[in-house]
Amino acid sequence: MKVKQISVFLENTTGRLAEVTKTIAKAGINLRAISIADTADFGILRIILDKPDEGMKVLKDADFTAKQTDVIGIILDDQPGGLMKVMDIFNRDGVNIEYLYSSLINEKGSVVIIFKVEDIDHGLEIVEKAGLEAIASF
């Protein structure tokens, strides 16, 4: 299953990230994963929310440049070699990873890692074939 990630364009100025978190918080939306890709001048905030469509709406209403992208959240064992297992499979089957980051989900010895891969349908197929589980929603 694919999950919806929201990316937000941020200038590298004080307070912009605070504005985003405030906008989401005010709408009662919970963050499930967060990461930032940054350059000298700007950053791209990537977040996963429990209510992605509502989140997208409040961010746009607040005049942020925001975009939805499909990503895969893979459930892994929280133990040595957990991530390695996915990497091995992806490597073997030629799944190209654009970026990955970890979510805030950690329960019953499992964690969820967010993957953006070049070809998401192919990526999902590989994940399922390997008997791994992709999270359906947060």
Binding site: Q5, S7, F9, L10, E11, R16, A37, D38, T39, D41, F42, I44, R46, D63, F64, T65, K67, T69, E98, Y99, K116
Partner: protein, 439 residues
């Protein structure tokens, strides 16, 4: 429709005869009535009777904006103040304003030339014209207003600003012609988009845009977004206001109302008159003005003149769309750059909106540092930094290739560059440089 066919389609010999007759009368009048001109003509050793042909105009000294400021407020008045019925000033963003005084005949002249311009853009009595140029001392609002009268066009004198109301009235009154600055038209498009309005549902057919230089690419953008045909109009307070020249349906050069405004192109360095077709500074002599007539006024605008067999039937001389202004011209790292060039390049790069600002600073090393801020639009934003870096590099490379200088490209959040209701502030120059043109 040609508003004044007798004049606008006149053959060249007749036109030149008319111009010469008016020029002689003008030179005599200002020599007698305006001490400022008498002193200048005497210093140049030229008398009114020395003007026998149109080419003799080159014997007369130029008038500059600096001189207009020095003679503030009434030093250039060629008539009694009692005969002045209207006063306008330039926007005055660069210092002391310049003053234009209009007699009743001047205002009739203004109505005439503006009516010709509106007609060039296809306006007639069946049209409803929404005039979103600012009303007041700025000539834009009232100039267009004066021109609508003789045409019988219904005018909505809404002035600039209050964009949501503009869009509402545009629908309520079914406006067919819009007049405003080109940058304000794009701002309207943006607001309409936010309000969920579609210009295809509107009745607009023509937009007459001026008061700031704009590029051909910006025209394409405006025509697409506002679903109308965009005409370039030119004018300046010193000469009359809007109405000096305008594009016809060919959108290829602006027909100058040359029976009233005699144009010359000069070499900005030497002051030498250049032949038709050569690029240089535009100079005007107001052949019939009574209030504040001007002799060989240096506009600082860069363009060239040409005559073609225009399919519209007008024979008046054309000026190419402005290539920039002498005093708009930026000298960056020794290279001459017009902001309109930057705009042109930017718009050719796919998906880049014309919301930009140029910030120039001189570092302690005396090297110019130029930052070009470009707003990141939804349609090219990506969740990956590399995609945005590719766009940034592309803008940088295009600028470098076409302008020959390296600019720092900074991607900024949408709407972070201040929007303007009037002239867009495209350049912020923080360098401490001597200003050209006596400013």
């Amino acid at each position: 429709m040609i508003y004044n066919k007798a004049i606008e389609s006149m053959n060249l010999a007749q036109m030149q005869e008319l111009q010469l007759e008016r020029l002689k009368e003008l030179v005599k009048r200002v020599y007698e009535k305006v001490p400022f001109y008498k002193k200048k003509f005497d210093r140049a050793g030229v008398k009114p009777e020395n003007i026998q042909t149109l080419a003799d105009i080159s014997k007369l000294p130029f008038t500059t904006k600096g001189e207009m400021r020095e003679t503030f407020p009434y030093g250039l008045l060629a008539c009694s103040l009692d005969d002045v019925i209207e006063i306008h000033t330039s926007s005055g963003t660069t210092g002391t304003p310049v003053v234009a005084g209009y007699t009743e005949n001047d205002r009739t002249l203004w109505s005439e030339v503006m009516a010709r311009c509106l007609a060039m853009a296809g306006a007639d009595k069946t049209d409803t014209l929404q005039n979103a140029y600012g009303y007041g001392l700025f000539t834009g609002g009232l100039g267009v207003h004066h021109g609508a009268g003789p045409l019988g066009t219904t005018i909505i004198p809404i002035s600039s600003g209050n964009t949501q109301k503009q869009l509402q009235y545009m629908q309520d009154f079914k406006s067919t012609v819009l007049t405003c600055t080109p940058s304000y038209s794009l701002f309207m498009a943006e607001v309409a988009n936010e309000m969920g309005l579609d210009f295809r549902d509107f009745d607009l057919k023509a937009g007459i845009f001026g008061a700031e230089p704009w590029s051909d690419n910006m025209r394409v953008e405006i025509e697409k977004k506002l679903n109308l045909k965009a005409y370039d109009i030119y004018g300046l307070t010193e000469i009359i206001g809007p109405g000096v020249s305008c594009e016809c349906e060919e959108q290829n050069g602006l027909h100058i109302n040359e029976d009233f405004f005699y144009p010359e192109i000069i070499d900005a360095e030497t002051g030498e008159v250049l032949p038709e077709g050569e690029k240089g500074e535009l100079v005007f002599t107001t052949l019939s003005r009574e209030g504040t007539p001007l002799i060989r006024y240096r506009t600082r605008d860069i363009t060239w003149l040409f005559r073609d067999n225009c399919s519209c039937g007008r024979t008046t001389v054309k000026m190419h769309r402005l290539l920039g202004r002498n005093d708009d011209m930026l000298i960056i790292k020794g290279v001459n750059v017009f902001p309109s060039q930057i705009e042109n390049i930017l718009m050719k790069i796919e998906n880049t909106e014309p919301h930009y600002q140029i910030i120039i600073d001189r570092e302690s090393t005396q090297l110019d540092n130029v930052e070009l801020q470009v707003e990141v639009e939804e349609n090219f934003f990506s969740d990956e930094t590399k995609d945005l870096e590719i766009i940034r590099r592309k803008i940088h490379n295009e600028m470098k290739q076409q302008l020959g200088i390296s600019l720092n490209i900074k991607l900024v959040e949408p709407k972070s560059i201040a929007r303007s209701m009037g002239k867009a502030r495209r350049v912020i120059d923080k360098r401490d440089l001597p200003k050209a043109g006596g400013k």
